[in-house]
């Protein structure tokens, strides 16, 4: 655990698509064992940030370091959960197969999946309450269940840094609660988690650190220090005028959520 390097270190990062900057001069240092929410309006560069860290997009300037190493080498230490839509859910694999994919990083070419890997996969499935579905084809699952399978795969990777792109998109309330409690438990075990999140209302409750992003880093810090009306206003610009109300009323948010949950049922 005594790692001299920060899990994620970003310095003066600039990324642009066709000369249009998407991220500009981002500096970021994430401490080990933090649960970080990345929030910002649509087109703020949240997904680009993830893709840059994952070495899928080349930056125009600055650098990303993962445990002190360049992304190319460091990415093997990241447990990555892509957006659910990037995957073909009709693919002939079962839930178990998908979770076992998480063990690939520990195996490498020509090495077979062993008893230990299977046991770990089962434990991870158990954690997300999906063990009874182990032999289902993934196409026969609901959106929330699919997301939980993705999470189980990430757990099976046993990484020290996790990067998740919108894990709460399109999942039901029960799954959201399950995922949040697992994320918090992972943090308590010393893992570092960076999560792209779209819902401002729940961000305050879910994460202990927040990165407010809108092309530039607006703020990064402990949630209670960053979740301030003026900073949020700055992040979302004029687009969300109700924001200031939001921050002060966030105690009422939980009630609204509960109601939404019951009408859904």
């Amino acid at each position: 655990m005594n790692n001299p390097h920060k899990p994620l270190e970003i310095h003066d990062l600039t990324v642009s698509y066709q000369r249009k900057p998407v991220l500009y001069g981002i500096d970021l240092e994430i401490e080990e064992g933090s649960l970080v929410g990345v929030i910002g309006p649509n087109g703020a560069g949240k997904s680009t940030l993830v893709k840059t860290i994952m070495n899928m997009v080349k930056p125009n300037g600055g650098y990303v370091k993962i445990f002190g190493r360049a992304p190319k080498a460091g990415i093997s230490r990241i447990g990555y959960v892509p957006q659910r839509e990037t995957v073909d859910w009709d693919f002939p694999v079962t839930v178990m197969d998908v979770v076992l994919m998480g063990r690939y990083g520990h195996l490498g070419w020509l090495r077979k999946i062993g008893e230990t890997d299977r046991r770990i996969a089962c434990e991870c499935l158990e954690q997300v309450h999906m063990l009874p579905y182990a032999n289902r084809q993934i196409g026969n699952l609901s959106g929330g269940q699919q997301q939980r399978v993705f999470l189980a795969r990430a757990l099976a990777q046993e990484s020290s840094l996790y990067l998740m792109d919108e894990p709460f998109a399109g999942v039901d309330a029960v799954t959201e609660k399950t995922i949040v409690s697992i994320l918090k438990e992972m943090r308590d075990r010393g893992k570092t988690l960076v999560i792209v999140h779209h819902d401002l209302a729940s961000a305050r409750e879910y994460f202990d650190h927040l990165l407010l992003l809108n092309m530039r880093k607006v703020a990064y810090g402990k949630t209670e220090e960053v979740f301030k009306p003026d900073l949020l206003q700055k992040t979302y610009g004029g687009r969300l005028s109700i924001l200031s109300d939001m921050a002060s009323k966030s105690a009422g948010v939980r009630v609204i959520e509960k109601e939404a949950y019951f009408t859904e049922k």
Binding site: S76, Y80, D90, P92, V93, V98, M101, Y104, L107
Partner: protein
Amino acid sequence: MKLGLENFHFAGGFSVISKILLGGVFTLLLPQVLSAEQIRGPESIEFFDRAMRFFEMRDHSVRVVALGSVLIGISCGMMGSYVVTRKLSLFGDTLSHAVLPGIAIGFLWAESKDNLALLLGASFAGFLGVACISLLKKFTKISQDSALGIVLSGFYAVGICMLTRIQKMDFGNQSGLDTYLFGQVSALSTNDLIGVCASLVLITLFITLNYKELLISGFDPEYARSVRLPADILQYLLWALLAFCVITSLQVVGVILASALLIIPAASASLLAKRMSSYLCIAASLGAISGLVGAFLSFLGERLPTGPLIVLTASFLFLLILVFRPHHGILVCWVKSRLQSHRIAMENTLKAIYQVIERHNFSETSIRMEELMQRRNLGSGECMKEVNRLSRSGFATASLDPHSPSGLPPEKRVSLTPKGWEYACRIVRNHRLWELYLTNEARYAPDHVHEDAEKIEHVLGEETIRELERILSNPRRDPHGKLIPSLVDIERGWLG
């Protein structure tokens, strides 16, 4: 290079049209080729003779033919599994058409049907085709499917022109190059068989060594990259093997339909398999069966083109699976929906009988058939059918009224058995509980709830009913003031 074929239908249509057009041109240019493909007269004695010859496998040539087509079926089935699951179907089609000019060039080079020259030519043309697609994609705004369509028809047209020239050359007539268009299994030589074996061995080796890598990169390419899996290299190797597989199978299946043997068995497997391993096995076996049966039929009809026969067999197997597969097959679905509609009709009749009895304040145990007809809004024949169905299931009995006025034919009456009475009560109860739930809990207006309840009553499970009762605290009256038969009523067997 990501091959998402969203506009597959358009491109598919395009390739079909181009095939028809080019086929037309080809027919005009090459009458001698087509005439060579026809059966040489119907000889029924020879028919059985040939069938016997095929099955006994005494001839060396028959063994080569049977083995070759089975092996090709297996390798195409396995490669096809990856082609179909990665949504590259049209890519396989393009590749098979693009190799035609290469075959012609290889033939011109060697001035004979030299296998190595043909293979080299075909590989060269295949890779040129793939390069063209990549370049079009990179430097133009043309979408993937259009690029595939352009390369497919362009290369094919060049190939046809060259082949026509060759046919008119001195050494061309006996070449048997036409077999590459439609496939001719009987032209398979031992040398060809070696090529087929080699490609099968390579494919099997590649798949067994890279099984989990192929699985990960096929299912989730982004994740594959994140675990530093060489997804791009795997993709290129897969293409190269695909080209090799297509080229070696051309002799049997032909250029035009080569992709069918890749796509159809794998698509059939996708209807059945839920894991990649079983997917591969099913696709390989279906490919093998199609190959063998196609080769056999072609052998029977002496020089009948093999490609179409193999494709016909594969399509027939696909249809069989589509209709007869478990769970989602057309037959199973049809039977299920028939059974369900019978059950719903039966439940509606039971409910109607209950309602008529209720209208008489539960004073009589049987009702006149006429009343039931009115209530159910059915003709007498249909109504009788419904009642018969009920009595066959032991829910109701039909009888003639002994007290009907003399001189007239005796009236028909229907009464419920205890079992039928219980069932009817349950349905009515479902209906009324649901109506009450909608008005009380979901705030529906009382005149909006009936239609919904008409459907829901047939699908409410026992558990939901218990929950509804709990939520509504065991109600007695529905929104229209009618009695909801309670569990006690049902057990006691009578109301009122």
